[in-house]
Subunit: 303 residues, 2 copies
């Protein structure tokens, strides 16, 4: 259903996404002629050109870029608006845009797969859309409405969003095969010993590594798997979530450094925009996440 439909804007956004009229006709399900006319009409009523096109290629004009961004956002609002009205009927519809942090799938204490199964098992007609991004990006997208919910360790919480604690994630310090500390069988390295080796960290969301050099890490990676690979080179020490590193440790590619002395805990949150909960799909999903989430024991036992 489309209440706040606007053929012209939707056409323009699709054309921009498709990079041309001819390609967009399949996405829109209308002929290229119709697209040509719609874009012409839109440009006429706006009074300026939105894109340069022709055999020479397709390109948005500067204003076209602006209109594209705003129109995208407006159409998203319109879809959410429609979904909200449909939900008054009792049915749960619309799309639900979920953002999660890296490597959330193996997080113990939060079974996201189960949460998604539960949500899917409800009588609903919701189109799910899941993306992975850094906490900062997730925050940004929640604010603009590009996302409805996000699950990540939100270190900086902002007033516009609403946060709910979900579970803890334990980070430990690891080294890779070839690292001087890799061969220490069962022994522990002295903290001051550890401090002299180069560190790698995630480029966003740096842990406050108490006891280690607080300076710039020697290397960083935007992605958990990428970070693990860095550590696995044997050139760096680096923190990883225990649940994530486990597979690597079992594979003999990583080894924990110093055991219980070098462990940190971060909290995962479920974040939504304030007042956004009036979309039923959102609060239902939040409920499913909550149910698939058991707070781990306060004192983490040995892996």
């Amino acid at each position: 259903m489309k209440l706040l439909r606007n053929a012209l804007l939707e056409t323009f956004v699709t054309v921009a996404d498709c990079g041309g009229f001819s390609e967009a006709q399949y996405a829109l399900g209308i002929t290229q002629s119709a697209i040509s006319i719609r874009i012409r009409d839109l440009e006429t009523s706006l009074g300026y050109r939105l894109c340069d096109r022709g055999r020479g290629g397709f390109r948005l004009t500067e204003r076209g870029e602006t209109v594209y961004r705003r129109a995208r956002s407006m159409l998203r609002s319109a879809r959410d608006f429609d979904a909200g009205l449909m939900e008054l009927r009792g049915t749960v519809t619309g799309d639900l845009r979920i953002g999660v942090a890296d490597a959330v799938s193996s997080l113990p204490g939060l079974n996201l797969t189960q949460a998604l199964q539960r949500f899917g098992a409800r009588p609903n007609d919701v189109q799910l859309d899941i993306t992975v991004a850094s906490p900062a990006e997730l925050t940004q997208q929640l604010i603009t409405g590009a996302l409805h919910v996000a699950i990540a360790p939100f270190r900086n919480q902002i007033a516009d969003l609403e946060y709910e604690d979900l579970c803890q994630e334990e980070h430990r310090l690891y080294c890779g095969a070839g690292h001087p500390l890799f061969t220490l069988q069962g022994q522990e390295a002295a903290p001051q010993d550890i401090a002299q080796y180069p560190l790698c960290q995630r480029s966003y969301d740096r842990l406050p590594l108490a006891g280690l050099a607080a300076g710039e890490p020697a290397a960083s990676a935007a992605n958990m798997e990428a970070l693990a690979m860095l550590i696995a080179t044997g050139q760096y020490l680096g923190p990883l979530p225990a649940h994530f590193a486990d597979a690597w440790v079992r594979g003999g590619r990583l080894r924990e450094v110093n055991g219980p002395e070098m462990r940190w805990v971060t909290t995962f949150h479920l974040a939504t925009r304030r007042g956004q909960m009036h979309r039923r799909a959102i609060s239902l999903f939040a409920e499913d996440v909550r149910r698939s989430c058991q707070t781990p024991p306060a004192a983490p036992g040995p892996g």
Copy 2:
């Protein structure tokens, strides 16, 4: 121009505003038949009834109320969206919804009339809409987008809004004819004397009346003129902006109590929603307000 038009929603909102189909046909410029069909189509696609109608009278259903509120807000966003796209053309259009506090027109140090004149003198095609409300209400309306700018003394500032100091307003303590303190010719009353008389205040935006009883005022009024009337009864002491009370004092209906000892200053702000300034009309108006505003001397001289 209407890009994000939706005949159905607009029809529904207008019908609700008009309280019936027959009346709405004049507002919408279409026949009652067309309205009937549009509302039926809207209800059909939503799957629920929006209003009860007929000879028995017109009434929104419960869901209708919800849809009405949301649709109003959505249509407002759509209008602002359109205005934003039009402004990319260079012209300044759309509507500009301004909210001001009570009695802002006589505020010295801020010539709002002049600001409006300046704005009107610019080449633009903007539809102005000015409302008067309490700071709390203005804040609420800025957040929802019902207002674009507001001018008032905002004592509680919130993160979502952006505030800019405009000017000071001096408040003094007054009594009315018939009040025991009214006849004190040139003399001052002792502060502890003053404290025993009942006070009246504005129901919102209470001044911190240093030196006076901080308890509940004996009377309150939501409006400046109403407050002045309360004081003029001779039954209460009360604070008023000096610029506002002047006319009453000259008319012999009010008299200042205690002169320089009983004066308070509040700051007027111009508030907008963060990131809202990309509507050109808004920033132009803000500029006009700024230019029509001279900060008064730090130490206020005698009236």
